[in-house]
Symmetry: C2
Subunit: 189 residues, 2 copies
DNA sequence: AGGTATACGGCACTCGGTGCAACAAACAAG
DNA sequence: CTTGTTTGTTGCACCGAGTGCCGTATACCT
C-alpha cells in the first residue's frame, strides 16, 4: 500500500530544528539554508515541507482550524451566539498541560517578529473565515452581510489583544484574558 | 539656503506611476524595476523614496496618523470615551469629495492583495498605538494595562471590517459602516 | 527483474532589499 | 571662475526567499 520513497523527515522535526535556531540567533538571522543544513536536508526539500520560512512557526494550523470549526458546529442552537463563540475560541486556545512554555515561545515569535506579524494576517484570514461562517449560519445572514465578517474581525482582535497581554504579563491567565476581551464584545451583539 | 542637488521626482509622482502599473498588470506582476523605469529613475533611487514596494500604496500614512492623534487630542474630556474615538476614526476616514474613487482603488489593493494584506499589519500597529495612547490617557490606565491595547485592537478590527464591507458593496456608505461597527463596540466599554 | 509511485535535492533563475562608492548638480565663498 | 560643501542619483555587487525543472534515489508491487 505504502508506495514511493519514504520521507526523510517530518514537519514536526523540522519545526524543532528551526525553533532551536530561532532561539539561538533569532528568526531573521536564521536562513532557510541554516535550517535545512541543521536538519540534514536540502534547501529545496525544506520548501516541500513548508511553503515559506514563516509557515514553520505555525505548525499545522490548518488542522487546528478544522478543530475550531468542529467545536463551533457542536454548539447547541439554544446557546446565545457570543457565548458559543467565546466558548469555542477559549477551547481553541486551551493548551495541554506542559505545552504552555512552548506555546509562549511560538506566540512571542509570531507577535514580536515583524516578518511574522505581517505573515500572520494571512493565517488569521482563515481563522476569521471559520468564525464568520459559523456566525452566518447561526444568524440566518444572507451572503454579503456585514454582521458575520465584522464580528469575526472583532473576535480575532480580541483574541490577539488577549495574547499580547498574556505575553506581556508573565504569569497571567490566557483563558481569563480571552474571557474578558470577548465579554466586552458580547455586549454589542 | 537651498543647497544640494534637487530631487528628480517626488513620492506623489512615483505613486501615480506605480498605481498606473498596478492597475495595468496587478501589484505582484509589477516589479520595482518596472516602476523605476516607468518613472525614469534608477531602481536604487526608488528605494530612497519608499522603503519597500509595499509602502508605495500607503502614501504618507505617517502624517495621516499625526492628524488622527491631533483629532483625538482635541476631543473634550466631557465626551464619553467611545464617542470621541468613533468621531475621530470617522473623521480620519473622511475623504475630500472626488477622492473617493482613488481611495477605493488604494484600499482594494491593500485589502485584496496578499502581500499588502500582510504588510498592512505593520502599518496598523502604528495606528493602534495612537488609539491606545489616547485611551490610556483618557482612562487613567497605568502602563501595561489591558484596556487600551484591547480597545485599540477592537477599534481597528471594526474599521477594517467596515472597509471590507465598503469595498464589497459598491455604493455603500463608509461613514455609516464605521458608525455601525463602532457602535457595536461601544456597548462593551 | 522491471515498473511505478513518491520523495529528494541540485541548478538556475526572479525579485525584493541593502551597503558602498562614485558621480552629478545645485549653491556659497574666495 | 574656481573650489568646496551639500545633497541627490545611480550602478554594482551581494544576500535571502521562493520557484520551475529535471534527474536521481528509494520504496513497494507485479
Amino acid at each position: 500500500m505504502k508506495q514511493g520513497r519514504p520521507a526523510v523527515t517530518t514537519r514536526e522535526e523540522l519545526e524543532q530544528v528551526a525553533f532551536g535556531l530561532f532561539a539561538e540567533r533569532g528568526f531573521d538571522a536564521t536562513t532557510v539554508d541554516d535550517i535545512a543544513t541543521a536538519a540534514g536536508i536540502g534547501r529545496r526539500t525544506f520548501f516541500r515541507y513548508f511553503a515559506s520560512k514563516n509557515d514553520v512557526v505555525w505548525g499545522d494550523f490548518d488542522s487546528a482550524l478544522e478543530d475550531l470549526r468542529a467545536q463551533l458546529a457542536e454548539v447547541p442552537f439554544a446557546v446565545p451566539l457570543m457565548e458559543g463563540v467565546a466558548a469555542a475560541v477559549k477551547a481553541f486556545n486551551q493548551l495541554p498541560a506542559g505545552a504552555e512554555e512552548q506555546h509562549r515561545v511560538r506566540m512571542a515569535l509570531v507577535l514580536h517578529t515583524p516578518a511574522l506579524q505581517a505573515h500572520s494576517t494571512l493565517r488569521y484570514a482563515g481563522w476569521r473565515a471559520v468564525i464568520a461562517e459559523h456566525v452566518a449560519a447561526r444568524t440566518a445572514a444572507v451572503d454579503g452581510d456585514f454582521g458575520p465578517r465584522l464580528l469575526a474581525h472583532q473576535v480575532l482582535a480580541s483574541a490577539v489583544g488577549a495574547y499580547e497581554q498574556w505575553l506581556a504579563q508573565p504569569g497571567s491567565n490566557l483563558d481569563a484574558l480571552l474571557e474578558e476581551a470577548l465579554s466586552r464584545l458580547a455586549h454589542g451583539w
